[in-house]
């Protein structure tokens, strides 16, 4: 396994307390993993990895007219809201990110048993960018009476081969969390598809009651 050092300054969605990844931190390793906090370059490291939530990596590094990029990369381990984290790591790079840093990060995560995909520093990375509009559409269809939640979920499972239905999944993951993620992407893209559906807005408001 490739060594890594973890610096944690808050809670982590990717590696919650007790995750075995946390226990394997090695001081001074060539890859530095920052959980729950920010931080800059560290030229002595092959890569510095900053855990992201809904924000872009540029929030941590600054952006320079498309010339941003160094050995500082972003990452997030995908999880559906409150569900346990999956095995997927979305590795985020900027236009001028070091290819060596990308490869070092990929090798480190893969050697720890994760599946790694690389994506640009864009709102929602890969999965949230693609699924949030689908959740909003399904929630809107439910309000419009297109079909019942059960019929839509069954269609997803039996017709599309999904392991669970969209309504079932977004509800299980927490509609208020969906509101947070979808709102963040909407703020950055301005695209109406990311405007949280009414049911997500209701869930978010009820959270603060």
């Amino acid at each position: 396994m490739r060594d890594y050092e973890i610096v944690q300054s808050g809670s982590s969605r990717s590696f919650p307390s007790g995750d075995e990844f946390l226990a394997r931190s090695v001081a001074g390793a060539e890859v530095l993993v920052r959980l729950g906090g920010s931080g800059g370059e560290d030229a002595k490291r092959a890569a510095v990895l900053i855990e992201l939530d809904t924000e872009c990596l540029g929030v941590h590094t600054g952006e320079f007219s498309g010339n941003e990029g160094s050995n500082v990369l972003g990452f997030a381990r995908y999880r559906n809201g409150l569900d346990a984290p999956t095995n997927l790591i979305e590795l985020v790079r900027q236009p001028k990110s070091s290819q060596e840093a990308v490869e070092a990060a990929r090798l480190m995560f893969e050697s720890a048993g994760f599946a790694v995909v690389v994506c640009a520093d864009q709102p929602g990375r890969i999965i949230d960018r693609l699924v949030r509009p689908k959740y909003n559409a399904a929630l809107r269809f439910l309000d419009e009476g297109l079909a019942t939640a059960e019929a839509m979920d069954m269609t997803c499972r039996m017709g599309l081969g999904y392991p669970d239905g969209l309504i079932e999944r977004v509800t299980r993951g927490d509609l208020a969390r969906h509101y947070d993620v979808s709102s963040a992407i909407h703020e950055m893209t301005g695209q109406p598809a990311y405007m949280p559906a009414r049911r997500a807005v209701v869930a978010k408001k009820r959270q603060s009651l």
Partner: protein, 274 residues
């Protein structure tokens, strides 16, 4: 698609008249049915006697007149409103007054298909998923004039055929395509925007969401030209920007990159199959 639906009906014990204007098409469908049922026997899903009986229930016909006594006619003709409406008008003259007409349309309005056919109260939407002989789901919808009795009878038929019906409103794409077509377009736009490669998007979706197939793999399978046609059916009706064909999709189709059928789409199949 019609051949697969006929397999479902014949397998369930219904005498099934398979209509096609071309004899060659009927012969080809019969051969496919014979192959499919033979494999079902090999896999222990039906007995030899059941195979023979199911094949015997498939009755080929090149004239619409043979459908006169049918209880249910399921049309799976080309996805064109005028073609479907003309067919139903012809069937209305030929079939008994109790016959129910079902449309396997995936994009068109059942109300519009039924309009002017002469028995609007006995037309239902019955959208099978591909391949029909393997997929149990059927999206059932009623037009504005569909009677409860006709809808209930069609629903009961799907259950007796061993299928799993779900009810949807008569809206473009029903449930399945209303969710899938814009999603696939979002994927193409993400690729065009340089968010990630097709391979990484597929890997993320399969690993993170547990889908059996990545969206780029699926698009290559259904055909990028088919995706364009679906967009052209949806967008004018819904005016949903997500349903409009992305520029990259149109460029790929123009370049002949249609997916598996042309050997190249988001992936290159020429090496693997060579």
């Amino acid at each position: 698609m019609g051949a697969g639906i006929a397999l479902v009906a014949a397998r369930a014990g219904f005498e099934t008249i398979c209509h096609d204007v071309a004899r060659e098409g009927l012969d080809r469908s019969y051969d496919q049915a014979a192959t499919f049922f033979a494999k079902s026997v090999e896999r222990g899903r039906m007995t030899e006697q059941e195979r023979e009986e199911a094949l015997d229930r498939l009755i080929p016909a090149t004239g619409l007149g043979s459908l006169a006594d049918a209880d249910l006619v399921i049309e799976a003709v080309y996805e064109d409103l005028d073609v479907k409406r003309k067919l139903l008008r012809e069937l209305n003259v030929i079939c008994g007054e109790r016959t129910i007409f079902a449309s396997n349309t995936s994009t068109l309005s059942i109300t519009e298909i039924a309009s002017g056919c002469g028995r609007e109260d006995r037309v239902v939407g019955m959208h099978f998923c591909l391949p029909a002989q393997l997929m149990k789901l059927i999206e059932m919808s009623r037009g504005i004039n569909t009677s409860q009795e006709a809808f209930d009878a069609a629903w009961a038929w799907t259950l007796s055929a061993g299928q799993h019906p779900v009810e949807t409103q008569d809206k473009p794409g029903f449930i399945l395509n209303a969710l899938l077509v814009p999603f696939n377009n979002d994927v193409i736009r993400a690729i065009e925007a340089g968010v990630a490669s097709p391979a990484d998007i597929d890997k993320a979706i399969k690993t993170g969401l547990g889908y059996k197939m990545g969206p780029c793999e699926l698009l290559d399978l259904i055909g990028l030209d088919t995706q364009v046609r679906l967009c052209e059916a949806f967008y004018p009706v819904t005016l949903d920007p997500r349903a409009s064909a992305p520029p990259l999709l149109r460029r790929m189709v123009a370049a002949g990159h249609l997916g598996r059928k042309s050997g190249r789409g988001f992936y290159d199949y020429t090496q693997a199959e060579g």
